[in-house]
Symmetry: C2
Subunit: 209 residues, 2 copies
């Protein structure tokens, strides 16, 4: 399959980790978000939201939206499982992951930063905007995961870890103060020690610059 991806995209990073964890090979196709390639008409027919990631299956069918792709991957390639089977336990993991996917990432992504700058905000004001949402979001995330497991919800990484690591990459980039979130950065270090996460890192991508 083909993955339309951008090296620094938080949501592309989630899918790269999951594909690696599942051992599913893919061809990465870079979409340069800073250059606006996601707004080209040809790409927009594949992904009407004009974002990344887009996953094109071997039969040509197309999937978009990272959280939908992650669940599809987990159903299609069940091992190792990214979500528990029990509906309640599953909803707890999804709630933590969705906290980052809805309360942090959308207010902190590239198009919002670009818009704030167009509206005349300084770099300092943009940094404050980013960090305030991150601080609230990471505090909620830390309260929703288990307090004492190697990964967010157990002995192996799952959906919550897959959303956490890319969001922390963005946090480091923006200089967020992560000292109140030692449990999260410990989990991050444990994840990045795994080949599946390490190979998915932005810096390890062919389009990194």
């Amino acid at each position: 399959m083909k993955l339309y991806t951008y090296w620094r995209s938080t949501t592309s990073y989630r899918i790269r980790i999951a594909l690696n964890l599942k051992g599913v090979g893919y061809e990465p196709i870079p979409v340069n978000l800073v250059a606006g390639e996601q707004r080209a008409e040809g790409y927009a027919t594949l992904n009407p939201a004009r974002g990344v990631p887009t996953l094109v299956l071997d039969d040509g069918r197309v999937l978009t939206q990272s959280m939908a792709i992650l669940e599809w991957l987990d159903r299609t390639y069940p091992e190792p499982a990214l979500l528990p089977d029990d509906p309640f336990e599953r909803a707890l993991v999804q709630a933590a992951a969705l906290g980052l996917a809805t309360d942090v990432h959308p207010v902190n992504n590239l198009r919002v930063v670009q818009r704030l700058k167009q509206m005349g905000h300084s770099q300092d004001e943009t940094v404050a905007w980013m960090n305030d949402w991150m601080e609230q979001g990471f505090a909620a995330f830390a309260a929703l995961i288990r307090p004492d497991t190697p990964f967010c919800f157990g002995d192996t990484p799952g959906l919550a870890d897959i959303c956490l690591v890319p969001q922390l990459y963005n946090a480091h980039r923006w200089g967020a103060d992560l000292t109140p979130f030692a449990r999260l950065t410990e989990i991050e270090a444990r994840c990045l020690a795994l080949p599946a996460f390490a190979a998915a890192r932005p810096e390890a991508q062919p389009d990194a610059n």
Copy 2:
């Protein structure tokens, strides 16, 4: 079960619709977001993200994040189904719903509007911010759903319709131009003719004012 809800909250509205469609009774507990009741310490222990909805089950267990709650409801009360069983078809419905839940709602919710005002933006600038994200989000949504079914993906309402109707309520409130989105407002009218949607409307809630 108990649902912590706010009459005008887009995400609470989603859960009210789903509970009504499933025929699951619940006790609504209003949380006045404008008065900041979601930030009270007692509430934050229930919902660390300090938002609504929060669903408290009869055994006292707590679920947060509307998209996680919706999937839990669909697994726990399978009829009528909100999502198809087929993994690919399921991912298409989720992608449309998540487009609204991640690309529109989080940049258009109350806390972001309050923040823009704190940053000195006028009502006109805030309205332009809201409408630009809505226009992009509704255009993507319209391209992701089926072109010719009574509801977004078939003959009965599902997850995408449950996300669409509350987002359109917000669009009407902010004066968005919906003339390019006739298919969406037609689906909205069809949904609101159903008792499950009508009873979930903001204006029909005990805390409406």
